[in-house]
Symmetry: C2
């Protein structure tokens, strides 16, 4: 019989998908260029030209049996060593290739990390607002996700609530900085306080508490914002990364888990990731991509455009009276809706061809998310309907 | 704490891995060209030149945001439609793209298929001899794998035993034809009898029994051997395929599940695969590979060499007195060892730099597997030590 657990998942409607489907359907009526689709976090800038050339060079110069052959079960050494070297140089860490496990993007990394350090029944804390897919990555392992309420002042951490919820059953805390959906970047002070709390609780409970740090937006930070490297603050950290945003290749599904060399039992975590991958038949990202991305660790797609878009939207939204924390990074902004029910708010916006995402699934109702990974020209044009939407409904 | 279930998996030694490590270490001593490594099923022939050109063309002509962008969660339509069209034309099926779910090779396909049609506690039958990784694909879903004893006469199906074990708790039967490790190809008669038995048991128990058909060697059949398409015989069939062998690109991790259009509840299976992929963060094979392989459905790597190798080995082994079923396909041969303990047998062979795999983990002790996906020249050279090994130990 068809598995009932997954069948039930199909019945849950995804508001983001519904909105995106609206955007596509509406695009067919009026031209997609006239739909101001702020719903999806799909990078809008091309891959660096160097990447295309690196792939072509690999195809033209390497023996195809080697190039397209099986990746070793723990990943290709060239890729792992390059990642370790780059992290060491940028963040003063001391990884070796053996601390790096290649995954299908940050999604694969978080799902693997959670499986590694939990058993069914364990609790995993996430901090609102959070990326809704975390529910699936966590719950399908048999662990149980609990949501720590947001610090809505600046979207740093609500430490009082976190401490309250950090009980003996908590095996891991899952954070995301720079943050989807708020755009907030955790400061050095926040990370110090977090590490202090976790060390204290580890001692109190006499057990490990792992910090799973989801960092696909690590490179997308604006102006002089400092984005400290999470693993530098706390030993039991598994850093989850994706090249989807920094190199604009989300469809190629490549990222990694980096295990802090001082992590307790850390020498087992990469081999365990290998066993998890084996069980699902994944067996590492595409060999060609591991070899190509290994050459691209210091390269970035032209992510500057996201800062331009942030500036435009932040200025306009605050001028229109929205309460809004200025994003320090990512390509998201997360203002408070102009009415309590943000689903109703976002539905009204559709009449102006503005596709905004209500915040309920992010664990903090009453807000909305705009993903501004779209052409700057389109952001400009969207300001007119945005003004009309606010004036005609909320003035 | 580190997950104990996976930690335990690490402690189980893999004999195939140990042998392969021996081969690599020995290769460093005497040159790998002098180690007759028959341990690994890694394709040895280059990818078709056309594939390299197709990838380069895609890189040079497509918009990179589109080319490397997120795959839709159920896969790229172009790939799905091409697969459906090819299967329909070759095997008289009536798939549409909506019946195809792209996976990380056949491994990902089997793991997804098992998750789709079982719940924890269900039984899944496999037929000895079988690919040892099935244990992991099945057991990590929470279902329970049971092994139906082999038909050692011709490595078709032992129907008496299968019927005996086909109890009410069985949710699925997992078969593999052409077969790893035996090289046997199930005949039309075998598949008809299998389908008849499954239909009968479905009726008797009033529940669905799914047939999961693992077919990565579908194209590697020799001479005039007929390899009938399994799904054509039984409606509740999920066909699991990989391009690893037919196009020689195992590291790129691309394959699919094809759901028979008449499968009960079949319209849910592909969407459920999407949910499974979502939960593990996989989200489809690399976009570039889906688009490239979609252009390659009627192409093959030069798999002819495997038949040449089969002929050489079969002739020599039978001349040396081995009892051996002639493989109809794959790149494996599975003779009976010359002593009862095939582990001891294979250990003795190492002294002749012959790396053979004992059959215990395939669910049928007393045999050994040779993977002859190596250069024909090397097969020729290996016959001398093979003769010496037999003469010096078993005459």
């Amino acid at each position: 019989m068809i598995n009932e657990q997954y069948k039930k998942m199909l019945e849950e409607k995804s508001i983001i998908r519904e909105l995106s489907e609206f955007a596509v359907a509406r695009g067919k009526e009026i031209g997609y260029e006239n739909v101001f689709d702020y719903s999806l976090g799909n990078p809008s800038v091309p891959v660096p030209a160097k990447l295309t050339q690196v792939i072509i060079d690999l195809l033209q110069t390497r023996d195809s049996v080697e190039l397209h052959g099986y990746s070793p079960s723990l990943g290709i050494d060239f890729f792992k060593d390059k990642v370790a070297g780059s992290l060491n140089q940028r963040f003063g860490m001391d990884y070796t290739g053996s601390h790096i496990f290649p995954t299908a993007g940050a999604a694969g990394a978080v799902a693997h990390a959670v499986r590694c350090v939990t058993k069914p029944g364990d609790k995993v804390l996430v901090l609102a607002p959070f990326f809704p897919e975390y529910r699936f990555y966590v719950n399908l392992t048999g662990a149980e996700l609990s949501v720590v309420p947001a610090n809505t002042v600046d979207f740093q951490i609500h430490f009082e609530k976190l401490e309250e919820m950090l009980t003996r059953e908590v095996a891991a805390v899952l954070i995301n900085t720079p943050n989807n959906p708020s755009g907030a970047v955790y400061s050095k002070e926040t990370l110090k306080e977090l590490a202090g709390l976790l060390y204290r609780k580890q001692k109190e409970y006499g057990r490990d508490i792992f910090l799973i740090s989801d960092e696909p937006y690590r490179e997308i930070v604006f102006g002089d914002v400092d984005a400290p490297y999470v693993s530098g603050f706390y030993d039991n950290t598994l850093s989850c990364y994706s090249f989807s945003k920094s190199l604009s290749l989300p469809g190629e599904r490549i990222g990694y888990v980096a295990v802090n060399p001082r992590c307790r039992g850390g020498e087992l975590i990469v081999p365990i990731c290998g066993q998890i991958s084996r069980g699902i038949g994944h067996n590492c990202p595409a060999s060609l991509m591991q070899l190509a991305v290994g050459e691209m660790l210091e390269e970035r797609a032209d992510i500057q455009v996201y800062e331009t878009n942030r500036d435009l939207l932040y200025k306009e939204l605050t001028a229109l009276g929205f309460s809004c924390v200025k994003p320090g990074g990512t390509f998201y902004i997360f203002p408070k809706a102009l009415e309590k029910d943000s689903v109703a708010f976002c539905k009204k916006a559709l009449a102006y061809d503005l596709v905004l995402v209500p915040s309920d699934s992010f664990g903090l109702p009453g807000y909305f998310r705009m993903a501004y990974c779209i052409d700057t020209e389109k952001v400009h044009r969207s300001l007119v309907p945005l003004r009309r939407f606010v004036e005609e409904n909320y003035r």
